[in-house]
Each structure stands twice: as structure tokens, then as C-alpha cells.
């Protein structure tokens, strides 16, 4: 077993994701604790160029294959299983994303490696992998360890500022041939389906007023809409609101929705489950209103009010209008 820390590089439509840099940022801290190198695993088709941005890593292992071009985690899994088997790192970091979530468990079983999910912080202490995890929708913090390692970690978005994983330096790139036959991949990619156009593009808005479960009923939406109107903002939401079809999927912020970075993100009645936080944590200013003091949204918000939205939102709308007038 080596003492290296591996990081899976994630890219979508030719772009590296923020999550990749976050993982590299964490890897940068943990690799010295482990006493090994930080290794970035870049897999894909025609993405070698992306390696240039991975300077935070000591080494980039690049695997090129036709079948790694599409978002088929199984292909990644087969390649990674082989790679990790050969390289035997101390710790492998994967993003809690549509890719990472389809890999970690499989690798854990296939390689007989323990894994920890929902990781918010990671460290290697006395050879053990120690993680701080956010479980139960953010209602509990669990400190867990993989005694002695090695192991895998699924890291929550926002665990580390992405900037910490960015580096100007050019890493060493080693190209590796896949040790497995990817023809055996059982899952076949058929195509991408883009969201229907036409609605407001919430990723381009300066101000978002976002609603969650706390709004209770569709007919309460106008209360929040009124505030959005007063602020000149667009309305966005967490997943439950879209699942109830009160707002179209284009308004969903979070893991399978949009990632937004407005100047102001005003979260109304949103508890702040990790899947949601993933999509908005980088907003310039986050203000949260929720009646539940335990809501994890207050952990990412800059300002918070523990109050009933039906009380505060109309008052706030009024105050904003008065200021405008």
C-alpha cells in the first residue's frame, strides 16, 4: 500500500467541476498527513488538456478511452478498480455527485475497501482516515474513522473552498492504459436531455429568492413571489417544491438542479439539506429565514433569522418596497 491520496477528477462538457478543485484542496491538506503524494485521476476522451489545470496535484494519471467520453459511471468504475488495485493508495477522494455516487460503493465492494460518505472534513491521523460527516439531512455531525486505512471517501460539495485546489503549476502527467476491457461495460450511453428552454435562467440572476418545503402549499407562493418582485429577483426553489410541481424543474437549485452563484441568495423555508446546499453555497451573500433553529441552512448562511416566513416575508417585502419608494 502506498501513502498516496488519490482524487477523482470530474468534468462535464469539457469543463472541470468546482468539486474537483474542492477535492484537490482537501487532498492537498491530507496528502502530507498521510505522507504520500496527491494524485489526480483524470479519465475521459480527449481531455488530456484539462490536466494543465490540475497543478495542485503532484501527479496526474490520465486514462484515455473512447468509452470514457460519456457519463457512464460503470466505465469509470472498471478503469478505476484496476487503477486502484494496482496503485493501492491510502485514500481515494470522490465527489458526492452523479458520478461519484455511482462509483464509491462499487469500488468499496470490489476492492474490499472501507468507505465514508457525506464527508465534510478529512484527515489522516496516526494512519487512520478520519472524517467529519454531515448526516441526517445536516441534523447530526458524525466523526468517523477508517482505522489504519486504506479507504475511500465521498466528499460533500463545499467541504473546502475550490480555490484551495487551484494552482498555476503544471503537474506531471502519466498516461495509463486501461487494464480492463471496456467492451464489457453493460451500461450504454444513449444521449443527453437538456432542460426545456424558455423559463428564467436562474444561473444568470443577480438575486434569487428561493423557497423550500416551509412554504407548505402552492397557494403560499405568491407571498414569496411578492418579495421577489420587490427585490427584482427571480424565484428559485429546493427540490420538494419542484417535485410538487409548484415550480418548473428549471427553478431547482441543488444537486440535480442548477448551481447558482447570485449576489444574494435569500433562502425562505429551506432547511438546507446537503443536496441543496451544493447548488447555492457559493453565493456572495446568503440570508436564510426558517422557523426551525436546527435547520442546517443556518450553517451556510451569512445571516439567518429563526422566524416564521409568513410573518417576516410580507414585512420584508413591505420594507423593501418602502425603501424603493
Amino acid at each position: 500500500m502506498s501513502q498516496d491520496v488519490f482524487v477523482l477528477v470530474e468534468h462535464l462538457k469539457g469543463q472541470l467541476t468546482d468539486g474537483t478543485f474542492e477535492l484537490l484542496g482537501i487532498g492537498r491538506e491530507v496528502a502530507p498527513q498521510a505522507g504520500g503524494r496527491l494524485v489526480a485521476l483524470l479519465l475521459g476522451r480527449d481531455v488530456r488538456g484539462l490536466a494543465e489545470q490540475l497543478g495542485a496535484a503532484d501527479v496526474v494519471l490520465y486514462v484515455e478511452d473512447e468509452r470514457l467520453g460519456d457519463s457512464v459511471p460503470e466505465a469509470y468504475r472498471r478503469v478505476l478498480a484496476g487503477l486502484l488495485q494496482e496503485q493501492s493508495p491510502k485514500l481515494t477522494l470522490l465527489p458526492t455527485s452523479s458520478l461519484g455516487m455511482d462509483l464509491a460503493g462499487a469500488l468499496s465492494v470490489e476492492l474490499n475497501l472501507p468507505m465514508i460518505a457525506f464527508c465534510k472534513q478529512l484527515a489522516v491521523q496516526d494512519g487512520s482516515i478520519v472524517a467529519t460527516c454531515e448526516l441526517y439531512g445536516g441534523r447530526a455531525v458524525v466523526e468517523a474513522e477508517i482505522p489504519e486505512g486504506p479507504g475511500l471517501a465521498l466528499v460533500l460539495p463545499g467541504a473546502c473552498p475550490a480555490d484551495k485546489g487551484r494552482s498555476e503549476g503544471a503537474p506531471a502527467v502519466e498516461e495509463v492504459k486501461p487494464s480492463v476491457d471496456l467492451a464489457e461495460v453493460r451500461v450504454r450511453f444513449k444521449g443527453l436531455i437538456e432542460p426545456p428552454p424558455g423559463d428564467v435562467d436562474i444561473t444568470r440572476q443577480e438575486i434569487l429568492v428561493s423557497v423550500g418545503r416551509g412554504v407548505q402549499r402552492e397557494e403560499n407562493l405568491p407571498i414569496v413571489q411578492e418579495l421577489a418582485d420587490a427585490l427584482g429577483a427571480a424565484l428559485s426553489s429546493s427540490r420538494p417544491v419542484v417535485d410538487q410541481q409548484w415550480l418548473p424543474p428549471t427553478r431547482q437549485v441543488g444537486k440535480s438542479g442548477m448551481t447558482v452563484k447570485p449576489r444574494l441568495y435569500l433562502a425562505v423555508g429551506i432547511s438546507g439539506a446537503p443536496e441543496h446546499v451544493e447548488g447555492m453555497r457559493d453565493s456572495d451573500l446568503i440570508v436564510a429565514i426558517n422557523s426551525d433553529a436546527r435547520a442546517p441552512i443556518f450553517n451556510v448562511a451569512h445571516y439567518g433569522a429563526v422566524a416564521d416566513l409568513f410573518e417576516v416575508v410580507p414585512k420584508l417585502a413591505e420594507a423593501v418596497k418602502n425603501r424603493g419608494a
Binding site: 402549499r217 409568513f310 410580507p314
Partner: protein, 402 residues
Amino acid sequence: MVQTASREARGPLTQAFFDRIAAVAEGEKLKACIQCGICSGSCPLGFAMQYPPRRLIASLRAGVMEQVLQSNTPWLCVACYTCTARCPSAVGITDMLFPAMREALLMQGVGVPGELQTALENTFRHGNPLGEPPSKRADWIQEVDVPVTDLSADPREVDILWLVECYPAYHVRAKETVKALARTLHALGADFGVLGQEERCVGDSQRLVGENGLFEMLVEENGKTLDRFQFRQIIVTDPHAYNALKNEYPKYGVNYPVQHYTQYLASRLEELRPMLGELNHTITFHDPCYLGRRNGEYEAPRQLIQAIPGVTFVEMERNRENGLCCGGGGGGMWLDSFAYEYAKERLSEKRVREAARTGADVMAVCCPNDLLRFEDAVKVVGLEGKLVVKDIIELIDEARKG
């Protein structure tokens, strides 16, 4: 038209419906309908129904129900009782027909609006349709400045067991009425207690939306809970709870004397009257369907309002048995978006306009649904600053302090 009304031709939905109708005692009465149409003419949402009640009963008698059950009709009834109160053939449209249709749909899982499912799920899991934690049901006690006995923590014999009900216990606006009532009861020296964490939804609206199993479960649970406490009578904040305890619970052997809080206070009006200071308001009053039309109590609320010195009382054109429903009954609170989609206007919005036409500056109510719906409606129709919605107990509380 050739009708195929044999049992074999019925779809599972229709069959479930007919089974339900056959199972209830009043089911036979449907056949007595004379197709006069007063139900459809009277129904405040009849215009939006694809099968208004008369046509619905005609379809039922012809044995062709499948389309009716799959129409918007079953979910548009707000159980205001107008049709039933006026029906010359005493057909149980509100209590029997609509719940039976809804039950069939619920049983078959067909077309049940999502917001309703959520409310039912919440009631089942948490004992309240809002999905609030049961442990926080009595948290409002911390916010009121008079002592309130939480019998779940301090079980003792009381004179009055007060069932607070869900919206009043949890909803931030409705909670104000609860606090006001607590203060007033205290001022009257009433010996009262609440069930705190042990209280569950009384469930009348769940019954009317067709979730009879859930209602029966709540009756069982509440019956057992009530049995464990010693009290002389029950008072309730919500007319729907009043209706259930008065008319439905006894069918299951849960039988306690119950009053709506307005009735209780009216019975103690002579003690209350000297406490009341002047309020300079012109007040109109909206009769809650389940206190008025369903249970015939029109006077107690009016007596309370008129007992406040300085008040000018005005009636709306539609009052008492002709009062227009707020749209929140019979599960209307949880079918609002559905109803709005077809009606394009909420009954509560019509109603606040009617209230405003009287020239009143306060619209008095005594049902939590009314309070919440009319307050919203006042904003929607732009009557803010002109008309204020207040529960009678808030007016009494204000007058008492003033």
C-alpha cells in the same frame, strides 16, 4: 343512449364507489333525489364542476359513474353544506356522497391531488395536517402570559378540556387566537387544561375528504386519550372539531359534551361583559359553515361581538344559513390549488369583497380556516388597510385589555 349499468360493466373505481354507497346507512336516500337542481344552483363551486351535484346524482342513478369520478368534481366540494341544507329530498351530498367518491378515488389511488396526500400523510404520521412535530404542539403555552395547564405533563381533573386543534396550535397567525382565548379563560377564572403533546387532530376534514379509515383511527386514538382524563366538558377552537365531536364521534361511542368556544363564552357573557372596554369598529361577521349551517349556531358569535361596547355590527347580505363558505372546509385547505385551477377565484376572495361592501372595517370570524383564508384574500384582492380579519376571541381579548 344505451346504458350499460350492470355490475360487470363497472370499472374498479365505480365499483369501489358503489360499494361505499351501499355500505352507508344513508346511501339509499340518493334514490330519493328529485333532480330539482337546487344543489347545483346553490353550490358555490358548482360552476367549476364538470359534474355539479344534480348531474352527478343523475349519473349515479344511471349507473354511469366512471367519468364523473375521473372528473374534477370529487375534489371541488368544500363541504359548505349549502346543498345538503337546502336539498328537498334530504340527500346527504356533503356527508355521504362526496366523501364516498373521494374514498373510492383514495382507495384506488386515482387522481388524488398531491397537496391533499401530503396533508393526509402528515395527519397519519404526526397527528396534524401541517406535518409539525407532535412534541411541539403545546409550545404556544410558552408564548402566553397566563398559566395554562398542560394535562399531558400535569394530569389533573379540570372543569374544561380545551381541544386546541391543529392550525391554532401550530400556525403562527392562528396561534394568536389561542393565546387570546387562554387569556380570556384565565380572566373568567375558568378551570381549564389542554392535552398538549397528547392531542391529535380531531379529523373532521379528513373524514370529509374521504379518508374514513384515518378518521376512524383518529377517533379511536382520541377516544382513548379523552378517556384517560377527568373533565366536565370539552370546548374547541375549531368549528370542524365541534362538528365531529358533536355529530360523528358519538357514532363511535365517544360521547362528551362539547361547545365551541363562542358558545362557552356566550354562556358566561354576563361575567364577561363587565370586563369589556370600548372598541370603535364597524364589524361584520362571517358564519363558519360548521358552526352555522351544519349545526345551527348563529347567535353565540353575534352575542359576543355585540357585547363589546362601541361596536357597530353589520350583516353581510349573505348571512346565517345563506353565508358563503371560505372554501377551506372539507379538505378545502388542502385542495386550494386544485380548486383555484378550475374556479380561478377563491371563495375567500369573493367573501372578503362581500364583507368590504358592508362598510365594516373588521371582518370577525371564529374558525381558524376563515382567519387564515380571509387574511390571505384581503391581501390578494387589495383590501389591505381597509378590512382587517380578526377572530372574535381576539376582539374580546382586545376589548378586555382596552
